[in-house]
Amino acid sequence: MIAIIDYGVGNLFSLSSSLSFLGLDCRVTSRKEDLEDADKIILPGVGAFGDAMERLIKTGLVDTIREQAEKKPLLGICLGMQLLFEKSYEYGEHEGLGLIRGVVAPLAADINPDLKVPHMGWNSLHIIKDDPIFRYFRNGELVYYVHSYYAKNCKESTLGVSQYDVPVAGLVRSGLVYGAQFHPEKSGDAGLRLLRGFADLY
C-alpha cells in the first residue's frame, strides 16, 4: 500500500487517481499507523512552504515521516519535494524536514529576467544519474512543472534536471528519500511510468 500524506495542502485527487489507474493500492491518510503499514509514502503539496510546513507539523506526523523514511521509499512531489530540504527562502526563512541536503530558493533571482516565473509547463527531464526509479522512463521525456522556487546546493542528490536557463533539479534522491519538482501525476504517460517506477522500488 502507498500512503499519500494528507495534511490539508493541495489536491490529492489526481495523485490517488493516477495510482489507482496504475492498479496500485493507495490510501490518502493523516494517520501515523497508515504510514507505518505502508510499503511506500508520498508527500504531496502545493502552495507556500511556510504554511505547508506549519500544517505538516500540526498533523504530528513529522517524527513518523523521519523514522519511516529510513525504512521505505518516500517520494515528495512539488512543494512536498521542497519540504524534504533543509531550508527554504520563500517569504522569509523556514526550516524544512532536512531529509535531503540543500535549500529552496527563488528561481527568479537566478534566471534571465525575460523568462517567465512560475516555471510552468512541459520540460524535458535529463537523467544525470541512473536510478531504479527511471526503470520505465526514457531520458529526455517531458514532464509537467509548476513552481517559482527550486532546490539548490543539492548536486549530490540530483538524479535528473530540466533546463530553464539554469539546470533545475527535477528529481532528487538521498537514501530512500526521493523528490520530484514536477508533477508526475500530471505528466501524461511519462509521469505515470515514473510513478510505476517508484511503486516498483525494492
Partner: protein, 257 residues
C-alpha cells in the same frame, strides 16, 4: 526549455460538449468524458473545461463530469465558467481541477484574482479575457462575449497580472469559430504588455494557423475547440507537423504504460 502547449477546450452544457461560432449558434458535439479521454490519448498538453450551464442542476452535473474526467486524465486540467467567488474555486479544485479560469467574475470583482492567488497560488489563477475590437480599440467583453464592459483589454491584462493571475487566456471574439487563423494583432498588442504565460484562443482553422501562431514567441499555448472536436485536426498530427516546423512541442511516441 518549456514546450509550446496545445490545448483543446470543451464547452460543457447540460452534460454535453457544445460548440458555437462567434460565441453563438451552439451545437451539440459529444460526451465530455469520451472526448477528454480521446484528447489525453492523442497528446493534448492540457484540457480546458468551461461550464456554460445556467442552472443549479446543470452545475451539479458538471461537477460530476469534472470528477469523472479528472480521474482518468493525467494532464493539467483548467476549469472555468461561473467562477465568481473563492467557494467556486474550492468547488472545482476539489473535483480535480489544477487551474481555475476567471472571466466575468473577475471583471465584477477584481479582488477575486488576488484573493485566489493568495490562497491557491498564482499558478492556479488563469485570467480569461474575451476581447473584441470596438472603434479600433481592444475592449473586454463580459457574460460570454455579450456585454461590452468598456474596459481597455491591454490595461485589464496588465492589471490581472499585477493582481496575481499566473496565466492569461486571450479569446478573440472577432476570430472565434471563423477558422481563418488566430488574431495575431490582438495577441501581439496584449502579449507585449504582460510577462505571464499567454494562451491564444479563437480562430484556429488548420495546422498552419498554429505554426503561424508560434512564430510569435510570447505565445505559450494555442487553444482550440471546433477543429479538434470534429477531428479536422488531430492533435498528434498537429504536434508532429509543428515539430517539423521547428516548434518545441511535446511528442508522445509509442506508449508503454
Amino acid at each position: 526549455m518549456v514546450s509550446k502547449r496545445i490545448i483543446p477546450c470543451l464547452d460543457v452544457r447540460d452534460g454535453r460538449v457544445v460548440k458555437g461560432v462567434n460565441f453563438e449558434g451552439i451545437q451539440d458535439m459529444a460526451d465530455p468524458v469520451d472526448m477528454a479521454r480521446w484528447y489525453n490519448e492523442t497528446g493534448a498538453d492540457e484540457l480546458v473545461f468551461y461550464d456554460i450551464t445556467a442552472s443549479v442542476e446543470g452545475r451539479a452535473l458538471f461537477t460530476d463530469i469534472l470528477r469523472a474526467v479528472a480521474s482518468e486524465i493525467f494532464i493539467p486540467l483548467t476549469v472555468g465558467g461561473g467562477i465568481n467567488a473563492l467557494e467556486d474555486f474550492d468547488r472545482v479544485l476539489k473535483c480535480g481541477a489544477d487551474k481555475v479560469s476567471v472571466n466575468s467574475g473577475a471583471i465584477k470583482d477584481p479582488s477575486l484574482i488576488g484573493a485566489a492567488a493568495k490562497r491557491y497560488g498564482d499558478q492556479c489563477v488563469v485570467l480569461s479575457m474575451d476581447v473584441k475590437r470596438v472603434d479600433g480599440e481592444f475592449k473586454v467583453f463580459a457574460k460570454g462575449g455579450r456585454e461590452n464592459t468598456g474596459i481597455n483589454a491591454i490595461s485589464w491584462a496588465r492589471r490581472g497580472e499585477e493582481l496575481g493571475a499566473g496565466e492569461i487566456v486571450l479569446n478573440s471574439i472577432d476570430t472565434d469559430g471563423v477558422r481563418g487563423g488566430f488574431d495575431m494583432p490582438m495577441l501581439r498588442a496584449i502579449g507585449e504588455a504582460v510577462t505571464i504565460p499567454v494562451v491564444a484562443s479563437g480562430g484556429a482553422g488548420c495546422m498552419e494557423d498554429f505554426s503561424e501562431l508560434f512564430k510569435y514567441d510570447r505565445v505559450d499555448a494555442g487553444l482550440a475547440a471546433g477543429i479538434f472536436h470534429t477531428k479536422k485536426v488531430i492533435i498528434s498530427d498537429l504536434k508532429r507537423y509543428l515539430a517539423g516546423c521547428g516548434v518545441n512541442v511535446r511528442l508522445e511516441e509509442d506508449k508503454w504504460s
